[in-house]
C-alpha cells in the first residue's frame, strides 16, 4: 500500500512542482524569493496542523503556541549563549514537543469546543508570558537573534523549499501508512477504533508530537531566517488563524493541499497589499466562500472532479 502510494499521481505531480520551484531562484527577484520562503514555512505549519485537524480530528486553535515555543526557545538560546545554530534549533523542537504533550493532555480528557478553547488559552498565556518576561524575550518590541543560517536569499529559499518538501513527504507518507489509517479511524470514531483493539490515546498522542515536531522545527528555522522573533509574527492568534485558513483552503485531510493553501494565501495577501485593511477582508472572504461552497478545499475540488469523470 505504501509503495503504491509513493508512485501515485499526487506524489509525482508534487515532485515535478518541487523540482520546478527549485529552479525559481534563476529567474525571479529576491523579493519574490523572500515571500516564497515565508510561504513555504507557513506551508509546513499548515501541514502539521492538518495532521491534527484532518486525521486526529482535533481542532487545535493554537498552532501558533507550538510555532512560538519553537521559535522563541531557539531564539532566546541563541541570544543568550550563541551555541551552534543546530543546537538552538534542536532545543526549539524539544520545547515545542513538550508543548505538544501539554496540549495533548486535555485533548484526551475533553472534547470538541472545550479542547479548542484550551488550545486558544495556551496561545494567550504564551503571549502574555512573552510580553511580561520582556527582559528575556524582548517583549512587544521583539527578540533579536544574532545568528542567521545564511544571508543569501537563494540559499534560504532552497533550505525552506527542501525542508517543506521533506516534511511534506514524511507527513504524507505517514498519513498514507497503516498508522495514518488507524489515526484517522481514532479521530472519526474513537469508540469503534478502540473496540478494534487500537490504542486511540497512543495514536493521538503521537499525532500531537509529530505535529509539534514539524511546527517547532519550522518555527525555529523561520526565526533564524528572519533574524528576529516577535509576538506578531509567531504567536499572535492571527498567525494561528492564517495557518488554519491555509489548511482549510487547501483541503482538509490532504496534507499536500495545505501547502497549496498557504502559498496561495501569502500570494493573495501580497497582491492585495496596496488595498491595506481591505486585503485581509478579501482573503477571509475568499476563505469563507471556499468553506461554505467547496468544503473539500482546493485540492479536494481537483480530486472530486477527477473521481467524477
Amino acid at each position: 500500500m505504501l509503495r503504491r502510494a509513493l508512485v501515485s499521481p499526487p506524489v509525482l505531480i508534487s515532485l515535478i512542482v518541487v523540482l520546478l520551484a527549485a529552479t525559481l531562484p534563476l529567474y525571479v527577484s529576491g523579493y519574490v524569493l523572500g515571500l516564497l520562503t515565508i510561504a513555504y514555512y507557513f506551508g509546513v505549519f499548515s501541514m502539521a496542523w492538518d495532521l491534527l485537524f484532518g486525521f486526529a480530528n482535533e481542532v487545535n486553535f493554537g498552532p501558533s503556541f507550538l510555532i512560538g515555543l519553537g521559535a522563541y526557545t531557539a531564539g532566546i538560546l541563541d541570544n543568550l549563549y550563541q551555541p551552534p545554530i543546530a543546537l538552538c534549533i534542536a532545543a526549539g523542537v524539544l520545547a515545542s514537543m513538550i508543548g505538544g504533550l501539554v496540549l495533548a493532555l486535555p485533548a484526551l480528557r475533553v472534547r470538541g469546543p472545550y479542547f479548542g478553547l484550551t488550545t486558544l488559552v495556551a496561545v494567550l498565556m504564551l503571549q502574555n508570558f512573552v510580553v511580561v518576561a520582556a527582559s528575556l524575550t524582548g517583549g512587544e518590541i521583539g527578540l533579536t537573534i544574532p545568528d542567521v543560517i545564511s544571508i543569501d536569499d537563494k540559499v534560504n529559499y532552497w533550505i525552506a523549499l527542501g525542508f517543506m518538501a521533506v516534511s511534506g513527504a514524511i507527513l504524507y507518507g505517514l498519513t498514507r501508512s497503516p498508522v495514518g489509517l488507524i489515526l484517522q479511524a481514532s479521530g472519526q470514531d474513537p469508540v469503534q477504533a478502540g473496540a478494534l483493539g487500537f490504542n486511540v490515546t497512543k495514536h493521538k498522542l503521537a499525532a500531537f508530537l509529530v505535529s509539534a515536531f514539524f511546527s517547532g522545527l519550522a518555527g525555529a528555522l523561520m526565526a533564524f531566517y528572519l533574524g528576529t522573533a516577535s509576538v506578531g509574527t509567531f504567536i499572535d492568534v492571527t498567525v494561528g488563524v492564517q495557518v488554519i485558513i491555509g489548511a482549510v483552503l487547501g483541503g482538509r485531510r490532504t496534507i499536500l493541499g495545505a501547502v497549496l493553501g498557504a502559498v496561495f494565501l501569502v500570494a493573495l495577501g501580497e497582491t492585495l497589499r496596496p488595498l491595506g485593511d481591505l486585503a485581509t477582508f478579501i482573503v477571509s472572504a475568499v476563505a469563507l466562500i471556499v468553506v461554505l461552497f467547496f468544503p473539500a478545499g482546493l485540492l479536494g475540488m481537483v480530486k472530486g472532479a477527477r473521481e467524477a469523470t
Binding site: 486535555p106 480528557r109 469546543p113 485558513i245 485593511d277 468553506v291
Partner: protein, 291 residues
C-alpha cells in the same frame, strides 16, 4: 477606599462580561453553535453607535439604538448566510459540521473586524455616553455611566429571564434547548425558534457592545479578545448554563480588577487564564455545566 473602589469597578466590569457571555451561551445552549464572530459583532455595535452619535450627530440615544440594530442584523446575517447554510449542507459530513461552523464564524468575524478597520480606522473609539457626570459612592468617585452600565446589564438579563421563564415563546426556546425533536412534535417550527434566538442574541450582543463602547471604548482589535473572554467565561461557567456564566463573569471580572489594582494592569488577564486552565483539567464541564 481601595477596597470599595475594586468592589464598584469590578461590579460594573463583571456585569458587562455577564451580559456579553449570556448571549453567547444562549446561542450555544439552544442551537449548539459556538459563534466565534461574537466579539466582532459587539465591536460593530459599538462602532455603529459611535459613528451615528458622533459623526452624524444623531445623539446618544439614537446612536445606541442604531448600534443594537446593527448587531441584530449582523447576528441574523451570521445565521442565514453561514450557520444555516452549513447546517443544511450535504457536502459536509454531520460530525464535521461543528468544526466547519467554528472555522466559518471565525472567518466571518475577521471580515467584520477588517471592514470596520477599513471604514473607520482601527483607532480606539469611545461612544458618547447616555449618562454623564460623577457620583460619589462610599467615598469613591464613580462615573455615573458605570452605574448606568451595571443597571442596564442587569435589566437586560432580567428581561431575558422573564422572557424565557414567563412567556410561551420563551418556553418554546427553553424546550428547544432541551429536546429539539420534542419541540417539533408539539407543532412548533424549530427554524422559527432558531431565528428568534439569533435575533435575541444579536440584541444582547448589541447592548453589551454599545455599553462597552461607552464604558471602556473599543477598537477593531478588541474583537478577538472579546470573543476569547466570552468563550472562557462561558466554559468556566459550563457551556449552555446561563446562571453558570453569570457566576463565572463575576469571578473573572473581579479577578481581573483585583490583579489590575493590586499587582499591575499588565498582568490583568493572567490569573483568569490560569483559573480557566485549572478548571479545564479538574472539572472540564465547568462550574455549573450539565453533562
Amino acid at each position: 477606599m481601595l477596597f470599595w473602589q475594586i468592589l464598584i469597578d469590578g461590579f460594573a466590569i463583571s456585569s458587562l462580561y455577564a451580559l456579553g457571555a449570556t448571549g453567547f451561551t444562549l446561542i450555544f445552549g439552544v442551537t449548539g453553535v459556538l459563534n466565534l464572530s461574537h466579539g466582532a459583532i459587539m465591536v460593530a455595535a459599538a462602532v455603529a453607535a459611535w459613528a451615528a452619535s458622533g459623526n452624524f450627530g444623531a445623539g446618544a440615544y439614537v446612536g445606541a439604538v442604531f448600534g443594537v440594530v446593527v448587531a441584530l442584523l449582523l447576528a441574523l446575517a451570521t445565521y442565514y448566510l453561514i450557520v444555516r447554510r452549513l447546517q443544511l449542507s450535504r457536502a459536509v459530513r454531520e460530525e464535521e459540521k461543528e468544526i466547519f461552523i467554528l472555522t466559518a464564524t471565525l472567518l466571518w468575524g475577521i471580515m467584520i473586524q477588517e471592514a470596520i478597520a477599513y471604514l473607520f480606522t482601527n483607532n480606539a473609539k469611545t461612544v458618547l455616553p447616555i449618562v454623564d457626570g460623577v457620583v460619589t459612592i462610599l467615598g469613591v468617585r464613580t462615573p455615573a455611566n458605570e452605574i448606568f452600565t451595571a443597571f442596564v446589564c442587569w435589566a437586560t438579563i432580567g428581561a431575558l429571564w422573564l422572557f424565557v421563564n414567563r412567556t410561551l415563546a420563551g418556553k418554546a426556546v427553553l424546550a428547544a434547548s432541551m429536546n429539539p425533536r420534542g419541540v417539533t412534535l408539539l407543532g412548533i417550527e424549530l427554524s422559527t425558534v432558531y431565528v428568534g434566538v439569533w435575533a435575541i442574541y444579536g440584541a444582547l450582543a448589541g447592548v453589551a457592545g454599545v455599553l462597552l463602547g461607552m464604558f471602556l471604548g473599543v477598537s477593531s482589535y478588541s474583537a478577538g479578545p472579546l470573543t476569547a473572554s466570552a468563550f472562557s467565561i462561558v466554559v468556566l461557567g459550563g457551556l449552555g448554563s446561563v446562571s453558570g456564566s453569570l457566576i463565572a463573569a463575576y469571578v473573572v471580572g473581579y479577578l481581573e480588577t483585583l490583579t489590575a489594582y493590586l499587582i499591575s494592569p499588565a498582568y490583568r488577564a493572567i490569573p483568569a487564564l490560569l483559573l480557566l486552565v485549572a478548571v479545564m483539567y479538574v472539572r472540564p464541564r465547568g462550574l455549573l455545566g450539565r453533562r
